[in-house]
Amino acid sequence: MSEASIFHPDVSHKRDTPDLPNDQINPIRKTIKRDWSLYLLLIPATLLIIFLRIYPFWGASIAFVRYNPVAGVGGSQFVGLKNFIDVFHRPEIVNLIRNTIVISLGKITLEEIFGLAFAILVYEVRFRAFKKVIQTIATFPHFFSWVIIGTLALSLLGANGMVNQALEVMGIHSLRFLGDKNIFPFSLIFTDVWKEFGWSAVIYLAALTQINPELIEAAAVDGAGRWARLWYIILPVVFPTFIFMVTLGLGGLLDAGFDQVLVLYNPAVYSTGDILDTYVYRMGLINFKFEIATVVGMIKAIVGYIAIISANWVSGKITNLRMF
């Protein structure tokens, strides 16, 4: 098999019983006795998982009570599904889910498309030093937090910002990138793409190294132009990776970028720019509505779980690449 991938090469989809080691058939006690030292070493990790991953689920029970932070969950009144009903009766909830999905989808696809295009451009560059420099510059913003990039964006996209001044020079009336609710989602998507495309190109550059240079040379000799080489050699190689990356991104469909939105949004663009995470933050930490925040968080977790499972399945179907 030539599954040259860092991901698990799941090709058979079935387990052959003859493959099973003997100890899987034997009673569990015997294996514990034999591998007791390994099990001992497993204990700390198990405890960490219990305390850091399973115990916090207790907090999810806030969703079913009328929460009093001083009395704790145990001391609060049990209200059943009332909080869930409340959440679905909130007028903003439809907007929230729509905004989250629109912003997230825009980011996932554009990030990957720009990343792929950039990787191909870089791949075509033959001058090594230039290649390195340009790639570093493009990857650089990825390593800054949104607090920094956001402040930069606020001044770049402001009324007197560089972008609007450039627009005015061209005779276009200035736009309120962060204040107009119809433009705001696009501002979010494009600032995010600007920050991340260099980073997503890294994966594609790795995938492009799989191409045998002789193949390209041979095609060139046979008269294939740049477009033909792109279309018949390069794209087929990176396409599975592209699909995989997009589906992987779909797993995080409801993560539309909390820190970015929090830094850039304002009440005038809530209707198109508010996402589930910022809403949870506002409800829980600003407005003191712990129950609402928990319910929305839970909904997000459940949908996110389904999204990851199905993304993995879709990716496995289309490209044979799976995460687990």
């Binding site: 098999m1 698990h8 799941d10 090709v11 058979s12 989809h13 387990r15 493959d19 080691p21 100890d23 899987q24 294996t31 591998d35 030292s37 390994l38 099990y39 070493l41 497993l42 204990i43 700390p44 990790a45 198990t46 960490l48 009093n68 932070p69 001083v70 009395a71 007028p91 606020l154 402001g158 009324a159 007197n160 200035s174 309120r176 962060l178 204040g179 107009d180 609710k181 119809n182 304002n266 009440p267 005038a268 809530y270 209707s271 506002r282 829980g284 930490l285 600003i286 407005n287 003191f288 509505k289 712990f290």
Partner: protein, 618 residues
């Protein structure tokens, strides 16, 4: 084909190996993590160095940038207690500090409070190493420690976190309408008995205990759960200000009506004096560059979802929510027009109150609505940045029916709360400290000969004032109102003890000067001579003279649980809707939809609760 390579899953043995490796790594990693934060605050901080003659600030006060720090060698010794000791130049002051009697706590009693990040700090200074802290420790034996440092803008978020996690500081300040959140859930201590036993008669008198409505915010079932602050003295009354030098340049009289304001702003813009002549910010109705006089011009008043609310009286004796008034719609129409004409910053929704103040400072706006104390806060910097500039207070604009009005200063301000389960001794110590401060503020002429001049702060040499080499008093290097330890050392914050403390004292000194200038000591002469103080006095008097304009909030009860349940959502809804109308992403007529939907979204409950209170307390 290699069977092993093709095997899709790990065998259990492999899994265990892998897991044990991972867990081993985790154990190693967790062993290496040591808490970097020291568990104790450093005791005995090194004493600040003596000032040298050359390091003294020069005669003319240079406005410092807010983030300015001085080198450690320049940290002056706090001389609040040593007024008569000659300094390096042999200078002595002709006035002395005196403090009211206090039975000092020995050993000192430790109180943990949140510390809000300050813009100005001497290098090397900390929350526990500064003259204010030292003074309280020396005189009262109260040792304030910071439970954490938090930027002012994140203060309430942090407190909400604390509440959820059960890590509230010992003593903390909370503003209305948030008080109910802490009191209703039982997070704070009932202090009724301690307060009644410990608070001095003077404290009870100036705070109107128990009858004054300021106590409503902290009262539940007849018990009090915190010490109410006095927010009075017109501190939040937004008066109309204008850059008179610009007015002269465009050759127009001061605007009298809202239409005049629009016309003047247009003229200023056309003349190219600035891009956005009217200062406004995302909070709409707030403490600086607020729009409440515009709403008042249409006979209504509204907080526009900013947190402050207005309940107005109906002819039938009930209360109605101010933001639903038709006048608000007219005000929104004006604001929307200003936005369309680019008379206000088209980016205002990304700017808060202090950012819009910065616009005034930078000469990017010239018409704004702000409280009287900008005479000392904003204007000195404007004058310094634009020589020849002049800012004047003008009458609030009138609407088409000749009405005018402003929000005024609500009586329900902040309160100091004490964490549930706090040692009663600490509560007692805090109230004793309040007694001490109040005595010093109210009977100021017996203790502080200089008067309570600077934001209720202590009057420390090297901070608020200094002596030059000729022994003349000069302004210290502190940018005004930046030195804020006293905010978190609780009682010494403005308005806490004694309302109207600043200007009346100043006016009294001015009277003395008229009667017999020779009787004033150098501190009093110095304070009277400060232009910012004189500006403040002018503006303050103007606020007093026009007090009839104030459209008061008639609901002075505390927020019940039912109100707390709906309030934050209603505020969000109101703010979003109004901002969308102003920025034009919603038509003005959506205001009518807002008024009905507001009621459906919980406004009905709110209105019922408020009227229940009102009919019981009329």
């Amino acid at each position: 084909m290699n069977q092993k390579l093709n095997k899709p899953y790990l065998s259990r043995r492999d899994f265990l190996r892998f897991a044990s490796l991972a867990s081993g790594a985790l154990v190693l990693a967790s062993c290496n993590v040591k808490t970097e934060t020291p568990t104790e605050a450093p005791t005995n901080p090194p004493p600040p160095a003596l000032p040298t003659a050359t390091s003294k600030p020069s005669d003319t006060p240079v406005p410092l940038k807010p983030t300015a720090t001085l080198k450690p060698t320049e940290i002056p010794v706090p001389t609040a207690t040593t007024g008569a000791t000659p300094d390096a130049n042999g200078c002595v002051t002709d006035w002395l500090f005196k403090y009211p009697e206090f039975t000092k706590y020995d050993p000192p009693i430790v109180v943990k409070v949140p510390f809000r990040t300050m813009n100005f700090q001497y290098e090397g200074e900390t929350f526990t190493n500064n003259p204010s802290h030292q003074l309280l420790l020396d005189k009262l034996g109260i040792d304030y420690q910071e439970s954490y440092e938090v930027p002012g803008s994140e203060y309430y978020t942090r407190l909400n976190n604390d509440l959820a996690a059960g890590t509230l500081p010992d003593v903390f300040r909370v503003g209305n309408p948030r008080l109910g959140q802490y009191i209703n859930v039982g997070a704070v201590e009932d202090i009724t008995d301690i307060f009644e036993a410990t608070a001095s008669d003077l404290v009870k008198q100036v705070k109107g205990y128990p009858k004054s409505s300021i106590w409503n915010g902290v009262r539940m079932d007849g018990r009090i759960y915190g010490v109410a602050y006095l927010e009075d003295g017109f501190t939040s009354d937004n008066l109309a200000f204008i850059r008179s030098d610009w007015l002269e340049q465009v050759g127009m009289p001061a605007p009298k009506t809202v239409d005049d304001v629009t016309a003047v702003a247009k003229a200023i813009k056309e003349k190219g004096l600035c891009q956005f002549p009217i200062a406004m910010n995302q909070e709409l109705v707030t403490w600086q560059c607020s729009v409440d006089p515009i709403i008042g011009a249409f006979g209504a008043m509204s907080g526009m979802g900013s947190g402050t609310v207005w309940w107005l009286k109906n002819p039938d004796g009930t209360l109605r929510y101010g933001s639903l008034d038709a006048g608000v719609k007219s005000a929104l129409a004006v604001l929307n027009q200003w936005f369309k004409d680019e008379l206000v910053d088209t980016d205002f929704i990304n700017k808060d109150a202090s950012a819009s103040g910065d616009a005034v400072l930078a000469g990017q706006a010239g018409i704004f609505y702000a409280p009287w104390w900008i005479g000392q806060g904003l204007l000195p910097d404007v004058y310094a940045a634009f020589p020849g500039s002049k800012v004047d207070v003008i009458p609030s604009p009138t609407g088409p029916e000749g009405k005018k009005g402003r929000g005024g200063t609500g009586l329900l301000g902040n309160a100091l709360l004490f964490r549930k389960g706090l040692d009663p001794k600490i509560i007692e110590a805090s109230i004793k400290q309040l007694n001490w401060h109040t005595e010093m503020h109210v009977n100021w002429d017996q203790y502080q000969a200089y008067g309570e001049a600077f934001q209720g702060a202590f009057f420390f040499r090297g901070y608020e004032w200094d002596l030059d080499t000729q022994c003349n008093m000069v302004l210290g290097p502190i940018p005004d109102s930046e030195w804020r330890y006293q905010q978190d050392l609780m009682w010494n914050y403005r308005g806490v003890c004694y309302p109207d403390y600043q200007v009346p004292i100043f006016q009294k000194m001015a009277e003395w000067q008229k009667a017999d200038p020779a009787k004033l000591n150098s501190a009093q002469k110095f304070i009277i001579g400060i232009k910012a103080k004189q500006d403040n006095m002018t503006f303050f008097n103007y606020a007093v003279d026009t007090r009839d304009e104030i459209i008061p909030n008639e609901f002075l009860g505390s927020n019940t649980e039912a109100i707390s349940n709906v309030l934050s959502d209603l505020q969000d809804y109101e703010r979003t809707t109004f901002l969308e109308i102003i920025t034009g992403s919603r038509p003005l007529d959506d205001f009518d939809k807002f008024t009905t939907e507001w009621l459906d979204r919980g406004g009905k409950i709110y209105t019922e609760e408020v009227n229940k209170w009102y009919s019981a307390n009329k």
